[in-house]
C-alpha cells in the first residue's frame, strides 16, 4: 500500500510543510482588501503544487523527485502558539458550524442497520470531522519543541504606494514585531528573505513600480526581489466569475471575492509562487540540509563522537531540566539535528529524517527531556509509516510518544491528542479499526468534553468499520459521544449521535438503554423547539412499566410538557398509553340472532344452533338482503357479518396501564367508516383498496371518519376511564349505524390526559397476527366489516323473578316479558327451552291465577289438554305461542312460565325465542332472541322409598319413605305425598292414624314414614296419564288443599323427571312414582322475595318393589273352629292362594310336612333374619318388626305348649303338589288338615318351591339377575280349634 495514497499520507504532506512567514504593510493589505481577501489569502490557492515534479538530491546526491508540495503562508503575527482558550473556542466554532449544517438531517428518520452498514468510511467520518482533526492539529503548531513549523522563509511585502518602500522593507523586518520564536532564540533568525513589491494597477501605472523594483534589486540583491501586480481588472462582469474560482474551492465565498483580479493577475501570482517555491525555498532547504548534515556528521556521527556525547550527557545529568526547554537553543546540536530531521521530512527524504530522529531520541531520553523525546518519537513513527516499513516500529513509536506526552502532564496533553490522531489515522490506513477506535477512546479520556465527543464519535465509526462490525460498541460510543456533546452544549450533535445509535438498541428488549436514548433524543429535540419530533421519540418510552416510578413520572411530565408546548391537539397513531390488548377485542353484533344480555353472547354458537334447529326455518337461515344475489351471497357471507341499522354494535376491548402512575383516558370511541348501501356492489373492491391504503393514510381515514360521525350516519359512544397504576380495565364501546351499507370498524381513538389523541387501528395489527400464525379460529378480522341492513325490530326479553339460587324441587311461576320498542308488530312467536325439566311454558290462563292456589285440586277436572301438551314437551321443549299472539309496537307481552328445579347443581338454561315481523318489507324474515340464565340449585330434601310386599296381604305393599333434609339451615314442611299411577292407592297404615308425628323437618334431620300401598286390580294400565292417589301429610294444617298432581305443571314436570330419572335407573320392573310436595318454612335465601312461600315438589320415580321371590301366596281359611273332638278328629279345609308376580312362567311345588319342631323353629328364625336382612341397612326397630314380634311371641308360646305333645295335626292328601303358573296369574290350591285335639296351631309347616321356567326368547335381564329358583317358607297361620260346647 502506498502511504501517500492514504488519508494520513495526504494529511502529512499537507500539514507538515514549510512555513513562509509573511510581513506586509497596511497599504498592501488595503490593496488586497479590494478583492475581499488578505494578502495571505490571495496567495493561498497557489501555495499548493500538485503536479509539481521537482528534482531534489539527497545528502548523498541521490536524485529523487518531489511530486507534491505545499507552502504554508502565515502572517508573522500568527507565528506563535495559539492561546489555549482561543483554540478551544475556534474548535467549538468548527463543531457548531457543522451542527448547523446537520440540522436538516435531524428531521429525517433515524438510520437503520442496513444503511449504516453500507455506509462507507467517508460517510462515517464526514468532512467536518476531518476539518476538526486538522484544526485540532493546527492549534498545536509553532510549538517550541518542534521545528517543522519554524518559518523557512520570510516574505516581505511592501506596496508601491508606500513612501520610501526600501526603508519600509527594513522597517517591517524589525525585531520588535517578529514572532517570539525568533526573539527567544529558539529559531535561527537567519532565514531566507524574499522581497516583494505589490503594485495595484488601479492606483497607478506600473512604471513607478518597475522603478522601485530596480531600486530594490540594487539594495537587496537581484534574485530576491519581485514585483507583483494585482487589481488589473476593469469593471468587466465576464471576468469576475472566472477569477474567483480558485478561491471558492478554498472556502472563500462572497460576491466581491477576486473582483479586481483578472486572469493575468492570477497567472502572475501563480508564477510568483512557483518561482518562490522551486527557485528559492526548496534549494534553500536542500542546502540547509547539507550544511546541517555536515555539522551533525562531524559532531555526532562516528564512534568517537558517540562516546563523547555519552560522557558529556552523563555529566549533564545532575542539572535539573529546565521546564521551558530553553536549554535547547537553535544553535544547540539537538535542535540542529531536529531541524535536519524535519527538513528532510518536509522534503520527503524520510530515511534521512528517521536516522536523525533516532539519533535525537536517545539524546533526549538521556536528557529526560520527555516532551521533546515524545515529539521525536512521534515524528519517527510518521517516518516509519511514510516509508511503509515495520508496522510494529511505527506503532511502538506512536504509542511511546502518546504515553510519554501524557506523562509530561498538562503541557503534553494536547500533543498526546495530536499524536493519537496520527496514530489512529495510521491504524485506520492499515484497516486496524478496532485498535484505532481504542486510540480514539484514549484520546477522549484526556480531552475536554467537546473534543472527547468528536473523538468518541470517530471511535464509534471505527467500531462499525471493523470486520465484523461491533455494533454494540458502536452504539455505546455514540451514546458516550452524544452525552459529551450535550455537556458541551452541542445539542444537535448530541441528537445526531444518539439517533445513529438507536437501531442498535431497538432489538432485543434492552429497554433501559432504549428508553434512555429515546427519552434524551426527545428531550433534546424539545430544547431545539422541534416538538413534533420530540414527541415522536417520547412516545417510544411512554409505556415504560419496567422503569422506576420517578423515571416514569419524568417521562410522562416531559411528554405532556412538550405536547403543551406544541400548542395544538396532537394525534398519535399507536399511542402506547394505555396499552390496548387487541387479543381481547370482541365484537358483539346482532344479525338475526339477538341477545337478551351481553353475557349471552359468550355462549357457544353451536349450542344455540342446536337449540334453534327445529324452530328456525331452514330455508331462511341465510335470510339477508344479499339473497337477491344468489351467486355471490355465500362468499360474502363468509367475509362479512351482518348487523341491523339502528342497533348498536358493541366492541369490547381491554385497556391496560403499564405504569405505576394513574392515567386518565377520556372519550374512548371507535373509529368507523360507513359507506352507504348504494356502494354495496363495490364492497370487495373498496375494502381491499382500503386495506392497502391503510398504512399510508391512517390519519386521513380517521379524520374523515370523524367527519362522518358528525354527519350522523352512525353514532358513537364515548367512555371516560381512569386507569390506576398497573390496572387493566375492559371497556365496551358502541357504534350505532343509522343507514344501511357497509360499516367498517377501523380502530380506536382516545384522549390521554385531555391532551393527546391516540389511535389504534385494528386491521393492520390483525394482519400481522395472521402472519404469525393462526391465533384464533374465528378470525375477527372479517368481522371488522359489517353489513348494515334494515332488519326486523329487536325484541327485548327477560324472565322476571328468575332465581339465581334455589333449592332442588323448587316450583314457581315466572313471567316472561317481551318488549317491542319499535312501531311494528311481531308475530309467529315460538320459543324453545334447552332444559324442559326446569322450565316449561304455562297456559296463558295461569297468568291470572294465584300461586300456589292454582295448583290445588279443582272442583272440576276439565284440563285434559295439559297431558297432551306434556307429550310434546317431553321431547322437544318446543313451544309455539298461539297464533293470535302478536306483539304490537311499544307493547310488552307477558307469558307465564313454570319453573321447577329438578336436580341440584349449576345449570345454564338457554331459551331462544323466534319471531317474525308482521307485514312490512325487511331484509330479514325472522329474528331470534336468545336468553341465557345461570342457576345454582342447592339440594333440599332427599327422598327414597322402599317398597316391600305386605306379608299377609295380597296386592298390598308396605312403603317406607326416608326423607333427609340436606340443607344447612332450612326447615321444610311436608305437605303431600302423591303416588302416581291409576291402580295405586296410597294410605296411612291402618294401625296409626297420623302418619308421622311431625310435619316439619329441620336441617340435617332424617325422617322415616310408613305407608300402605294398595294395587287396584281393575282396569287397563295406562302409563301415560298421571293419575293416582294423594295423601295429605300435614294433618295439622288441614286447611291446606291437596295439590293436583295430575294437572300441569306438576304432571308435565313429573314426566320430565321420569324421563330424566329413567336414564339413571337401570332395569324396569313394576315401577312406582312418588311425588313429594313440601313447603319451605323459612327461606334464608336472600336472593329474592318471590312467592310468599317456597313450594317444593320432589319426584321420586321408578321406585321398585323389593321382593325376594317371584311368587306371592296367602293361606286362607277359618280361624276359629268349634269341634266335637269326642266324635271324631276335626277336618279343616284351607285354601292357598298363589300369585305369580313375575313376567315369566313359574312352576311351583307346594310341600307340606308334619313337621318336627326344630325345623319349624329354625325356619322361623331364618324367616325372621331374612326379614331383617331385607331392610337393607335399616337397623331401627321398625313397626313391621313390632307387629311380627307380637305374633311371634304368641307363636312360640303355642309351640312350647305343643312341643310336648305329639304332632297335633297332620296334612291330609298329598305331601306335595306341583303346578305351573302363567305370568301374572293367580291360582288357588285347596289344602286340608286333620286336627286331633283342641288348641291353637301354627300352620306354617309347608314350603313353596318355585322355579322360573325360561321362556324361550323372553329371557330378560331380571331373570338373569335374580335366582331362577327358590324356596319359600310358609307364613304363620294361626288356627284355633276349640272343643265344641
Amino acid at each position: 500500500m502506498d502511504p501517500l495514497k492514504t488519508y494520513l499520507g495526504r494529511l502529512v504532506l499537507e500539514e507538515l510543510t514549510p512555513v513562509v512567514m509573511v510581513l506586509t504593510t497596511p497599504l498592501v493589505e488595503d490593496s488586497c482588501r479590494k478583492n475581499g481577501l488578505g494578502f495571505v489569502d490571495m496567495l493561498l490557492p497557489f501555495s499548493v503544487f500538485k503536479k509539481f515534479d521537482v528534482p531534489v538530491r539527497t545528502v548523498n546526491d541521490q536524485p529523487y523527485r518531489l511530486q507534491m508540495f505545499k507552502l504554508r503562508m502565515v502572517y508573522a503575527s500568527d507565528v506563535r502558539q495559539p492561546n489555549y482558550e482561543a483554540a478551544k473556542e475556534h474548535l467549538k466554532q468548527v463543531v457548531h458550524d457543522s451542527g448547523e449544517k446537520a440540522l436538516s438531517d435531524l428531521l429525517s428518520d433515524p438510520p437503520q442497520l442496513e444503511t449504516v452498514l453500507s455506509n462507507s468510511e467517508s460517510d462515517l467520518c464526514p468532512q467536518w470531522i476531518q476539518t476538526f482533526n486538522k484544526e485540532l492539529i493546527r492549534t498545536l503548531s509553532f510549538s517550541e519543541h518542534e521545528t517543522f513549523d519554524h518559518p523557512v522563509a520570510c516574505l516581505l511585502v511592501v506596496s508601491s504606494k508606500d513612501e520610501q518602500p526600501i526603508n519600509k522593507f527594513v522597517d517591517i523586518f524589525n525585531t520588535n514585531q517578529l514572532p517570539s520564536l525568533l526573539n527567544d532564540g529558539l529559531m535561527d533568525p537567519k532565514i531566507l528573505k524574499h522581497y516583494v513589491l505589490l503594485h495595484d494597477n488601479q492606483d497607478s501605472s506600473p512604471e513607478k513600480a518597475t522603478h522601485i523594483l530596480a531600486e530594490m534589486r540594487n539594495t537587496f540583491g537581484p534574485n530576491d526581489c519581485k514585483l507583483l501586480c494585482i487589481n488589473s481588472a476593469t469593471e468587466d462582469v465576464n471576468n469576475k466569475g472566472f477569477s474567483s474560482v480558485p478561491y471558492k474551492t478554498h472556502g472563500f465565498l462572497g460576491e466581491d471575492i477576486a473582483r479586481c483580479l483578472n486572469l493575468e493577475d492570477l497567472k502572475s501570482i501563480k508564477d510568483f509562487m512557483q518561482d518562490l517555491n522551486s527557485n528559492h525555498i526548496i534549494p534553500f532547504m536542500e542546502q540547509k540540509i547539507r550544511i546541517l548534515n555536515q555539522q551533525v556528521a562531524t559532531t555526532r556521527k562516528g564512534f568517537r563522537n558517540q562516546i563523547k556525547n555519552l560522557w558529556w550527557r552523563k555529566g549533564k545529568d545532575d542539572l535539573p531540566e529546565d521546564p521551558s526547554g530553553s536549554t535547547y537553543t537553535f544553535s544547540s546540536i539537538e535542535t540542529q539535528i531536529r531541524i535536519l530531521g524535519d527538513y528532510a521530512f518536509i522534503l520527503q527524504d524520510y530515511e534521512l529524517a528517521l536516522s536523525n530522529y533516532r539519533l535525537l531520541s536517545t539524546d533526549y531520553k538521556l536528557d529526560k527531556a520527555w516532551k521533546r523525546y515524545a515529539g521525536v518519537q512521534e515524528m519517527s513513527g510518521l517516518c516509519y509509516f511514510m516509508l511503509d516499513q515495520s508496522r510494529k516500529e511505527a506503532e511502538y513509536c506512536m504509542e511511546n510518544a502518546f504515553s510519554t506526552y501524557l506523562r509530561v502532564g498538562s503541557s503534553g496533553q494536547r500533543y498526546a491528542s495530536r499524536c493519537g490522531l496520527w496514530w489512529a489515522e495510521m491504524l485506520k490506513a492499515r484497516a486496524q479499526y478496532r485498535e484505532a477506535s481504542g486510540v480514539y477512546f484514549r484520546i477522549s479520556i484526556e480531552e475536554p468534553s467537546l473534543h472527547a465527543a468528536v473523538m468518541l464519535e470517530q471511535a464509534a465509526g471505527c467500531y462499525l468499520l471493523s470486520k465484523p462490525p461491533l455494533l454494540r460498541k458502536y452504539g455505546f460510543h455514540l451514546i458516550l459521544a452524544g452525552n459529551r456533546y450535550y455537556i458541551s452544549d452541542q445539542i444537535k450533535h448530541a441528537i445526531r449521535a444518539y439517533r445513529n445509535a438507536l437501531f442498535v438498541y431497538s432489538e432485543n428488549a434492552w429497554s433501559y438503554i432504549n428508553d434512555h436514548v429515546h427519552f434524551n433524543v426527545g428531550r433534546w429535540y424539545g430544547f431545539l423547539g422541534m416538538f413534533d419530533v420530540a414527541i415522536n421519540h417520547m412516545l417510544e418510552v411512554l409505556a415504560c412499566g419496567h422503569q422506576s416510578l420517578a423515571t416514569q413520572s419524568t417521562f410522562l411530565n416531559d411528554f405532556f410538557h412538550f405536547v403543551q408546548r406544541l400548542g395544538k391537539s396532537f394525534d398519535v397513531c399507536k399511542l402506547q398509553l394505555p396499552v390496548i390488548n387487541l387479543f381481547s377485542l370482541k365484537i358483539v353484533y346482532e344479525d338475526h340472532r339477538t341477545y337478551a344480555s351481553t353475557a349471552d353472547v359468550d355462549v357457544t354458537e353451536s349450542l344455540w344452533q342446536a337449540l334453534e334447529e327445529e324452530m328456525v326455518p331452514v330455508s331462511t337461515v341465510r335470510a339477508n338482503w344479499l339473497d337477491s344475489q344468489p351467486k355471490s351471497s355465500s362468499r360474502k357471507d363468509d367475509d362479512f357479518s351482518i348487523c341491523v341499522a339502528g342497533e348498536a354494535v358493541k366492541v369490547e376491548v381491554e385497556l391496560k396501564n403499564p405504569l405505576q402512575i394513574s392515567i386518565s383516558v377520556s372519550s374512548i370511541s371507535l373509529i368507523c367508516e360507513l359507506s352507504a348501501s348504494s356502494e354495496a356492489s363495490t364492497i370487495d373492491r373498496s375494502v381491499s383498496s382500503a386495506e392497502v391504503q391503510e398504512d399510508t393514510n391512517l390519519m386521513k381515514t380517521s379524520f374523515c371518519s370523524d367527519q362522518k360521525g358528525e354527519n350522523s350516519s352512525f353514532t358513537l359512544s364515548k367512555i371516560d376511564v381512569e386507569l390506576g397504576g398497573g390496572e387493566t380495565k375492559r371497556v365496551q364501546l358502541e357504534v350505532t349505524p343509522k343507514v344501511e351499507g357497509v360499516l367498517k370498524l377501523v380502530g380506536l381513538r382516545w384522549t390521554l390526559s385531555d391532551s393527546v389523541v391516540g389511535y389504534q387501528h385494528f386491521e393492520t395489527d390483525a394482519k400481522k397476527k395472521h402472519k404469525k400464525g393462526k391465533r384464533s379460529k374465528h378470525s375477527w378480522k372479517s368481522s371488522l366489516n359489517l353489513i348494515v341492513i334494515k332488519g326486523i325490530p329487536k325484541l327485548e326479553g327477560r324472565v322476571d323473578g328468575f332465581p339465581t339460587k334455589t333449592f332442588a324441587g323448587d316450583l314457581r311461576l315466572l313471567m316472561l316479558s317481551l318488549r317491542n320498542h319499535s312501531e311494528y308488530s311481531l308475530k309467529n312467536i315460538r320459543m324453545k327451552v334447552s332444559h324442559p325439566r326446569f322450565l316449561i311454558p304455562a297456559n296463558s290462563a295461569d297468568i291470572h291465577e294465584d300461586f300456589p292456589q292454582c295448583l290445588e285440586k279443582q272442583r272440576q277436572m276439565e284440563n285434559k289438554d295439559a297431558s297432551g301438551n306434556a307429550k310434546n314437551l317431553s321431547r322437544s321443549a318446543f313451544f309455539s305461542f298461539p297464533n293470535d299472539v302478536t306483539i304490537r309496537g311499544g307493547e310488552t307481552f307477558s307469558w307465564p312460565l313454570w319453573f321447577h328445579s329438578g336436580s341440584s347443581g349449576n345449570i345454564s338454561l338457554y331459551m331462544s325465542i323466534y319471531y317474525e315481523m308482521e307485514g312490512g318489507s325487511s331484509d330479514m324474515t325472522y329474528r331470534t332472541l336468545r336468553m341465557n340464565y345461570n342457576l345454582e340449585v342447592l339440594p333440599s330434601l332427599d327422598i327414597s322409598f322402599l317398597i316391600s310386599p305386605w306379608p299377609s296381604r295380597l296386592q298390598e305393599y308396605f312403603v317406607r319413605m326416608d326423607v333427609v333434609n340436606r340443607t344447612i339451615s332450612e326447615t321444610f314442611l311436608l305437605h303431600q305425598l302423591s303416588c302416581v299411577g291409576n291402580q295405586l292407592v296410597i294410605s296411612a297404615l291402618p294401625s296409626c292414624n297420623s302418619i308421622c308425628s311431625m310435619q316439619e323437618i329441620f336441617a340435617g334431620q332424617t325422617l322415616s314414614c310408613f305407608f300402605k300401598l294398595k294395587v287396584l286390580m281393575t282396569g287397563e294400565k295406562n302409563e301415560e296419564s298421571v293419575q293416582g292417589s294423594d295423601m295429605l301429610l300435614s294433618s295439622a294444617i288441614s286447611n291446606d288443599m291437596l295439590l293436583d298432581v295430575s294437572r300441569s305443571p306438576l304432571s308435565d314436570f313429573h314426566y320430565q323427571e321420569r324421563y330424566h330419572q329413567g336414564k339413571l335407573v337401570k332395569g324396569y320392573q313394576s315401577l312406582l312414582d312418588f311425588i313429594m310436595i313440601s313447603k319451605m318454612v323459612s327461606s334464608n335465601l336472600d336472593s329474592e322475595e318471590g312467592p310468599n312461600q317456597l313450594l317444593l315438589s320432589n319426584h321420586a320415580c321408578h321406585c321398585s318393589i323389593s321382593r325376594t321371590s317371584p311368587i306371592w301366596w296367602l293361606m286362607d281359611g277359618p280361624r276359629t273352629i268349634y269341634h266335637e273332638f269326642s266324635s271324631s278328629f276335626c277336618e279343616i279345609d284351607l285354601q292357598l292362594t298363589i300369585h305369580n308376580c313375575s313376567n315369566s312362567l313359574v312352576s311351583i311345588r307346594v310341600a307340606t310336612f308334619d313337621s318336627m319342631l326344630e325345623t319349624t323353629q329354625s325356619s322361623d328364625a331364618v324367616h325372621l333374619s331374612d326379614n331383617s336382612n331385607d331392610q337393607g341397612g335399616w337397623y331401627d326397630v321398625s313397626l313391621t318388626n313390632d307387629i311380627k314380634l307380637i305374633s311371634n311371641v304368641q307363636g312360640s308360646r303355642s309351640q312350647k305348649r305343643l312341643s310336648e305333645s305329639t304332632p297335633p295335626f297332620v296334612w291330609s292328601a298329598l305331601s306335595s303338589t306341583q303346578l305351573a303358573m302363567e305370568p301374572a296369574s293367580t291360582a288357588k290350591l285347596p289344602l286340608k288338615i286333620f286336627v286331633f285335639s283342641p288348641g291353637t296351631y301354627n300352620l306354617s309347616n309347608y314350603e313353596l318351591h318355585w322355579k322360573i321356567q325360561p321362556q324361550g326368547e323372553g329371557i330378560t335381564d331380571e331373570v338373569k339377575n335374580k335366582s331362577s329358583s327358590g324356596l319359600g317358607q310358609g307364613h304363620p297361620f294361626y288356627l284355633t280349634v276349640l272343643q265344641a260346647p
Binding site: Y463, L471, F476, Y505, E507, N508, W510, Y512, I513, H516
Partner: protein
C-alpha cells in the same frame, strides 16, 4: 467487589441483570453488559483466537473498562453470563468458581416449569441465591 451480574439469552436479550451497588448506575451497567456482548460474539465467532480453549465455557476477561473488569461465561445453550467487578486483581480461578456456582443457580432457576425460556427471570429465590454467591465471591477475594 462484584458490581453487577447479568444473564443474557441466546438472542442477546437481557434475561437477568442485577447490580450490587447503591448508586443509581443501572444504565451504565446495562451499557457495559451490552457492550461486552460484542466481545463475546467476537470470541465465539473467531475460535482460532481462543485456540485450545475452544470448548471452554469460561471466556475470561472480556475487556477492561475505566474502572471495571468484565468477565464472561458462555453456556452450551449460548446463554451468556457476564460479571462486572471493580477488583483489579482477580484470580481466574475465583471467577471460574463463581461462574460455576452461578451457572448451577441459573440452571435451577430455569428448570422451574413456570419459567418461560427466553423471558426475564423473576424468581426471588434465584435473586437471593445469586446475591449469596456474589457476597461469597467478595469474601474469598478479600
Amino acid at each position: 467487589m462484584i458490581v453487577c451480574v447479568a444473564v443474557v439469552g441466546n438472542q442477546n436479550n437481557p434475561v437477568y441483570l442485577q447490580s450490587f451497588t447503591e448508586a443509581d448506575d443501572a444504565l451504565k451497567l446495562h451499557h457495559i453488559v451490552h457492550c461486552s456482548l460484542d466481545v463475546i460474539d467476537e470470541r465465539v465467532n473467531n475460535p482460532k483466537r481462543s485456540g485450545p480453549t475452544l470448548n471452554e465455557t469460561f471466556l475470561g476477561l472480556l475487556y477492561p473498562t475505566e474502572n471495571y473488569k468484565v468477565y464472561g461465561y458462555l453456556t452450551n445453550t449460548k446463554v451468556k453470563f457476564i460479571m462486572v467487578t471493580t477488583d483489579l486483581d482477580v484470580k481466574d480461578a475465583d471467577v471460574r468458581n463463581f461462574f460455576r456456582r452461578f451457572h448451577a443457580a441459573y440452571v435451577d432457576a430455569v428448570s422451574n416449569p413456570f419459567h418461560v425460556p427466553g423471558k426475564k427471570i423473576t424468581s426471588k429465590s434465584f435473586a437471593e441465591r445469586v446475591s449469596v454467591i456474589v457476597k461469597s465471591f467478595g469474601s474469598t477475594a478479600a
